[in-house]
Assembly symmetry: C2
Protein backbone atom coordinates (compact mmCIF):
# COMPACT_ATOMS: atom_id res chain seq x y z
CA UNK A 1 0.00 0.00 0.00
CA UNK A 2 2.77 2.34 1.03
CA UNK A 3 4.68 1.49 -2.11
CA UNK A 4 1.72 1.77 -4.47
CA UNK A 5 0.69 5.09 -2.92
CA UNK A 6 4.21 6.35 -3.45
CA UNK A 7 4.16 5.05 -7.00
CA UNK A 8 0.83 6.83 -7.59
CA UNK A 9 2.34 10.04 -6.30
CA UNK A 10 5.31 9.71 -8.61
CA UNK A 11 3.06 8.99 -11.59
CA UNK A 12 0.83 11.99 -10.68
CA UNK A 13 3.85 14.22 -10.32
CA UNK A 14 5.18 13.06 -13.68
CA UNK A 15 1.77 13.72 -15.27
CA UNK A 16 1.71 17.26 -13.84
CA UNK A 17 5.28 17.87 -14.95
CA UNK A 18 4.71 16.61 -18.47
CA UNK A 19 1.40 18.53 -18.73
CA UNK A 20 3.19 21.77 -17.85
CA UNK A 21 6.05 20.86 -20.20
CA UNK A 22 3.49 20.32 -22.96
CA UNK A 23 1.82 23.66 -22.10
CA UNK A 24 5.18 25.45 -22.16
CA UNK A 25 6.06 23.74 -25.45
CA UNK A 26 2.70 24.73 -26.97
CA UNK A 27 3.21 28.34 -25.86
CA UNK A 28 6.75 28.37 -27.25
CA UNK A 29 5.47 27.03 -30.59
CA UNK A 30 2.71 29.63 -30.95
CA UNK A 31 5.03 32.46 -29.86
CA UNK A 32 7.69 31.17 -32.25
CA UNK A 33 5.17 31.43 -35.10
CA UNK A 34 4.43 35.06 -34.10
CA UNK A 35 8.16 35.83 -33.86
CA UNK A 36 8.84 34.31 -37.28
CA UNK A 37 5.94 36.30 -38.73
CA UNK A 38 7.50 39.44 -37.21
CA UNK A 39 10.84 38.55 -38.77
CA UNK A 40 9.20 38.15 -42.19
CA UNK A 41 7.83 41.69 -41.88
CA UNK A 42 11.30 42.81 -40.79
CA UNK A 43 13.00 41.32 -43.85
CA UNK A 44 10.28 42.70 -46.14
CA UNK A 45 10.79 46.19 -44.71
CA UNK A 46 14.54 45.97 -45.31
CA UNK A 47 13.99 44.90 -48.93
CA UNK A 48 11.54 47.79 -49.32
CA UNK A 49 14.01 50.22 -47.73
CA UNK A 50 11.32 51.25 -45.22
CA UNK A 51 12.93 52.37 -41.94
CA UNK A 52 9.58 53.54 -40.50
CA UNK A 53 8.09 50.06 -41.02
CA UNK A 54 11.14 48.57 -39.28
CA UNK A 55 10.74 50.93 -36.31
CA UNK A 56 7.04 50.01 -36.00
CA UNK A 57 8.02 46.39 -35.27
CA UNK A 58 9.68 47.55 -32.02
CA UNK A 59 8.06 48.49 -28.71
CA UNK A 60 7.87 52.24 -28.11
CA UNK A 61 10.52 51.90 -25.37
CA UNK A 62 12.65 49.42 -27.28
CA UNK A 63 16.42 49.39 -27.16
CA UNK A 64 18.80 48.27 -29.92
CA UNK A 65 22.47 47.55 -29.32
CA UNK A 66 24.44 47.92 -32.56
CA UNK A 67 28.15 47.01 -32.52
CA UNK A 68 30.52 50.02 -32.43
CA UNK A 69 27.78 52.27 -31.06
CA UNK A 70 26.08 53.31 -27.86
CA UNK A 71 22.62 51.99 -26.98
CA UNK A 72 19.85 53.21 -29.31
CA UNK A 73 16.66 53.97 -27.36
CA UNK A 74 13.09 54.38 -28.60
CA UNK A 75 11.39 54.08 -31.98
CA UNK A 76 12.56 57.40 -33.44
CA UNK A 77 16.23 56.63 -32.74
CA UNK A 78 15.80 53.05 -33.96
CA UNK A 79 14.22 54.32 -37.19
CA UNK A 80 17.19 56.67 -37.70
CA UNK A 81 19.59 53.78 -37.04
CA UNK A 82 17.93 51.57 -39.67
CA UNK A 83 17.74 54.49 -42.11
CA UNK A 84 21.52 54.75 -41.79
CA UNK A 85 21.92 51.03 -42.49
CA UNK A 86 19.58 51.15 -45.51
CA UNK A 87 21.28 54.31 -46.84
CA UNK A 88 24.61 52.46 -46.66
CA UNK A 89 23.37 50.12 -49.40
CA UNK A 90 21.85 47.22 -47.44
CA UNK A 91 18.91 45.68 -49.33
CA UNK A 92 18.53 42.31 -47.66
CA UNK A 93 18.32 40.85 -44.15
CA UNK A 94 17.81 37.10 -43.93
CA UNK A 95 16.79 36.08 -40.42
CA UNK A 96 16.72 32.46 -39.25
CA UNK A 97 15.25 31.72 -35.84
CA UNK A 98 17.19 29.07 -33.89
CA UNK A 99 15.02 29.01 -30.77
CA UNK A 100 12.27 30.84 -28.92
CA UNK A 101 11.70 30.51 -25.18
CA UNK A 102 8.50 32.23 -24.04
CA UNK A 103 7.28 33.13 -20.57
CA UNK A 104 4.13 35.23 -20.25
CA UNK A 105 4.44 38.48 -22.26
CA UNK A 106 8.19 38.03 -22.80
CA UNK A 107 10.07 35.74 -25.18
CA UNK A 108 13.75 35.42 -25.97
CA UNK A 109 14.72 34.52 -29.51
CA UNK A 110 18.11 33.36 -30.71
CA UNK A 111 18.82 33.45 -34.42
CA UNK A 112 21.30 34.07 -37.20
CA UNK A 113 21.34 36.81 -39.82
CA UNK A 114 22.83 37.44 -43.24
CA UNK A 115 22.98 41.04 -44.46
CA UNK A 116 23.18 41.58 -48.21
CA UNK A 117 23.97 44.45 -50.52
CA UNK A 118 22.22 45.42 -53.76
CA UNK A 119 24.53 43.24 -55.85
CA UNK A 120 23.82 40.22 -53.63
CA UNK A 121 27.19 40.40 -51.86
CA UNK A 122 27.16 39.38 -48.20
CA UNK A 123 27.92 42.47 -46.10
CA UNK A 124 27.84 40.56 -42.82
CA UNK A 125 26.69 37.37 -41.20
CA UNK A 126 26.22 36.83 -37.49
CA UNK A 127 23.88 35.97 -34.65
CA UNK A 128 21.42 37.84 -32.48
CA UNK A 129 19.34 37.69 -29.35
CA UNK A 130 15.99 39.50 -29.35
CA UNK A 131 13.76 39.88 -26.31
CA UNK A 132 10.24 40.16 -27.70
CA UNK A 133 7.39 41.66 -25.68
CA UNK A 134 3.67 41.21 -26.25
CA UNK A 135 2.00 44.61 -26.20
CA UNK A 136 -1.75 44.94 -26.85
CA UNK A 137 -1.82 41.48 -28.40
CA UNK A 138 1.16 42.03 -30.68
CA UNK A 139 4.67 40.60 -30.29
CA UNK A 140 7.23 43.37 -30.81
CA UNK A 141 11.02 43.57 -30.64
CA UNK A 142 11.89 44.99 -27.21
CA UNK A 143 15.64 44.43 -26.83
CA UNK A 144 17.69 43.71 -29.96
CA UNK A 145 21.40 42.87 -29.91
CA UNK A 146 23.63 41.20 -32.50
CA UNK A 147 27.23 40.72 -33.48
CA UNK A 148 29.19 39.36 -36.42
CA UNK A 149 30.34 35.75 -36.74
CA UNK A 150 32.98 36.76 -39.28
CA UNK A 151 36.62 36.88 -38.19
CA UNK A 152 37.95 40.21 -36.90
CA UNK A 153 39.71 42.22 -39.61
CA UNK A 154 43.50 41.82 -39.42
CA UNK A 155 45.04 44.92 -37.84
Amino acid sequence: MQLSLRRWRVVSLMAVMSASAVAAGAQDASVRAAVEAGNKKFSAAVTKGDAAALASLYTTDAQAFPPNSDVVKGRAAIQAMWKGVLDSGVTGAELATTEVEAQGPFASEVGTYVIKLKDGAVADRGKYVVVWKKVAGQWLLHRDIWNTSQPAPKP
Copy 2:
Protein backbone atom coordinates in the same frame (compact mmCIF):
# COMPACT_ATOMS: atom_id res chain seq x y z
CA MET B 1 -26.12 53.56 -8.99
CA GLN B 2 -25.09 52.60 -12.50
CA LEU B 3 -22.43 55.24 -12.44
CA SER B 4 -21.13 54.39 -8.99
CA LEU B 5 -21.04 50.70 -9.86
CA ARG B 6 -19.04 51.51 -12.97
CA ARG B 7 -16.78 53.72 -10.93
CA TRP B 8 -16.29 50.92 -8.43
CA ARG B 9 -15.36 48.57 -11.26
CA VAL B 10 -12.82 51.03 -12.59
CA VAL B 11 -11.34 51.55 -9.14
CA SER B 12 -11.20 47.74 -8.60
CA LEU B 13 -9.57 47.25 -11.96
CA MET B 14 -7.01 49.94 -11.21
CA ALA B 15 -6.31 48.33 -7.83
CA VAL B 16 -5.77 44.94 -9.49
CA MET B 17 -3.56 46.51 -12.15
CA SER B 18 -1.46 48.43 -9.68
CA ALA B 19 -1.22 45.40 -7.36
CA SER B 20 0.14 43.30 -10.25
CA ALA B 21 2.44 46.16 -11.26
CA VAL B 22 3.73 46.30 -7.68
CA ALA B 23 4.15 42.49 -7.69
CA ALA B 24 6.05 42.64 -10.99
CA GLY B 25 8.19 45.48 -9.67
CA ALA B 26 8.93 43.57 -6.47
CA GLN B 27 9.86 40.47 -8.49
CA ASP B 28 12.11 42.54 -10.78
CA ALA B 29 13.84 44.05 -7.72
CA SER B 30 14.51 40.68 -6.03
CA VAL B 31 15.66 39.11 -9.31
CA ARG B 32 17.84 42.14 -10.00
CA ALA B 33 19.54 41.59 -6.63
CA ALA B 34 20.19 37.94 -7.59
CA VAL B 35 21.50 38.99 -11.01
CA GLU B 36 23.82 41.58 -9.49
CA ALA B 37 25.07 38.99 -6.99
CA GLY B 38 25.76 36.67 -9.96
CA ASN B 39 27.66 39.45 -11.71
CA LYS B 40 29.79 40.03 -8.61
CA LYS B 41 30.78 36.35 -8.68
CA PHE B 42 31.47 36.71 -12.41
CA SER B 43 33.83 39.67 -11.90
CA ALA B 44 35.54 37.93 -8.97
CA ALA B 45 36.15 34.83 -11.13
CA VAL B 46 37.70 36.98 -13.89
CA THR B 47 40.01 38.68 -11.37
CA LYS B 48 40.95 35.23 -10.02
CA GLY B 49 41.52 33.91 -13.55
CA ASP B 50 39.12 31.05 -12.83
CA ALA B 51 37.42 29.89 -16.05
CA ALA B 52 35.75 26.91 -14.31
CA ALA B 53 34.10 29.26 -11.81
CA LEU B 54 32.89 31.42 -14.70
CA ALA B 55 31.40 28.39 -16.47
CA SER B 56 29.60 27.31 -13.29
CA LEU B 57 27.60 30.58 -13.39
CA TYR B 58 25.95 29.43 -16.64
CA THR B 59 23.16 26.88 -17.16
CA THR B 60 24.38 23.49 -18.40
CA ASP B 61 22.75 24.20 -21.78
CA ALA B 62 23.82 27.85 -21.91
CA GLN B 63 24.86 29.61 -25.09
CA ALA B 64 27.34 32.47 -25.41
CA PHE B 65 27.65 34.62 -28.52
CA PRO B 66 31.10 36.21 -28.72
CA PRO B 67 31.78 38.67 -31.53
CA ASN B 68 33.85 37.28 -34.43
CA SER B 69 32.92 33.71 -33.49
CA ASP B 70 30.25 31.10 -33.91
CA VAL B 71 27.84 30.31 -31.08
CA VAL B 72 29.49 28.69 -28.03
CA LYS B 73 27.25 25.98 -26.54
CA GLY B 74 27.38 24.32 -23.14
CA ARG B 75 29.52 24.77 -20.01
CA ALA B 76 32.65 23.00 -21.29
CA ALA B 77 32.83 25.16 -24.42
CA ILE B 78 32.02 28.29 -22.42
CA GLN B 79 34.81 27.45 -19.96
CA ALA B 80 37.25 27.05 -22.88
CA MET B 81 36.08 30.39 -24.32
CA TRP B 82 36.70 32.23 -21.04
CA LYS B 83 40.03 30.44 -20.57
CA GLY B 84 41.06 31.89 -23.94
CA VAL B 85 40.00 35.38 -22.84
CA LEU B 86 41.84 35.09 -19.49
CA ASP B 87 44.94 33.66 -21.20
CA SER B 88 44.97 36.70 -23.50
CA GLY B 89 45.72 38.88 -20.46
CA VAL B 90 42.29 40.00 -19.28
CA THR B 91 42.22 40.45 -15.50
CA GLY B 92 39.15 42.58 -14.97
CA ALA B 93 35.49 42.65 -16.03
CA GLU B 94 33.39 45.46 -14.59
CA LEU B 95 29.68 44.78 -15.12
CA ALA B 96 27.00 47.41 -14.53
CA THR B 97 23.37 46.31 -14.71
CA THR B 98 21.13 48.84 -16.46
CA GLU B 99 17.84 46.94 -16.14
CA VAL B 100 16.33 43.58 -15.28
CA GLU B 101 12.91 42.45 -16.50
CA ALA B 102 11.79 39.19 -14.90
CA GLN B 103 8.97 36.83 -15.80
CA GLY B 104 8.73 33.51 -13.97
CA PRO B 105 12.01 31.57 -14.25
CA PHE B 106 13.41 33.88 -16.96
CA ALA B 107 14.86 37.37 -16.69
CA SER B 108 16.49 39.58 -19.27
CA GLU B 109 19.29 41.84 -18.12
CA VAL B 110 20.79 44.76 -20.02
CA GLY B 111 24.12 46.13 -18.88
CA THR B 112 27.45 47.60 -19.79
CA TYR B 113 30.92 46.14 -19.38
CA VAL B 114 34.51 47.33 -19.17
CA ILE B 115 37.25 44.77 -19.80
CA LYS B 116 40.66 45.55 -18.32
CA LEU B 117 44.17 44.20 -18.74
CA LYS B 118 46.78 43.56 -16.03
CA ASP B 119 48.21 47.07 -16.30
CA GLY B 120 44.74 48.59 -15.87
CA ALA B 121 44.39 49.50 -19.56
CA VAL B 122 40.86 49.23 -20.98
CA ALA B 123 40.80 46.40 -23.54
CA ASP B 124 37.17 46.96 -24.46
CA ARG B 125 33.97 48.60 -23.32
CA GLY B 126 30.50 47.73 -24.54
CA LYS B 127 27.04 46.48 -23.69
CA TYR B 128 25.36 43.13 -23.24
CA VAL B 129 22.05 41.34 -22.96
CA VAL B 130 21.89 38.27 -20.74
CA VAL B 131 18.87 36.00 -20.45
CA TRP B 132 19.06 34.53 -16.95
CA LYS B 133 17.24 31.34 -16.01
CA LYS B 134 16.35 30.14 -12.53
CA VAL B 135 17.40 26.50 -12.18
CA ALA B 136 16.93 24.66 -8.87
CA GLY B 137 16.54 27.98 -7.05
CA GLN B 138 19.64 29.58 -8.59
CA TRP B 139 19.72 32.30 -11.24
CA LEU B 140 22.24 31.36 -13.94
CA LEU B 141 23.36 32.94 -17.23
CA HIS B 142 21.46 31.15 -19.99
CA ARG B 143 22.02 33.26 -23.11
CA ASP B 144 24.90 35.76 -23.10
CA ILE B 145 25.60 38.20 -25.95
CA TRP B 146 27.63 41.38 -26.06
CA ASN B 147 29.33 43.78 -28.43
CA THR B 148 31.71 46.68 -28.25
CA SER B 149 30.64 50.31 -28.00
CA GLN B 150 34.02 51.49 -29.25
CA PRO B 151 34.28 52.78 -32.83
CA ALA B 152 35.20 50.27 -35.52
CA PRO B 153 38.93 50.23 -36.28
CA LYS B 154 39.76 52.27 -39.37
CA PRO B 155 40.35 49.94 -42.33
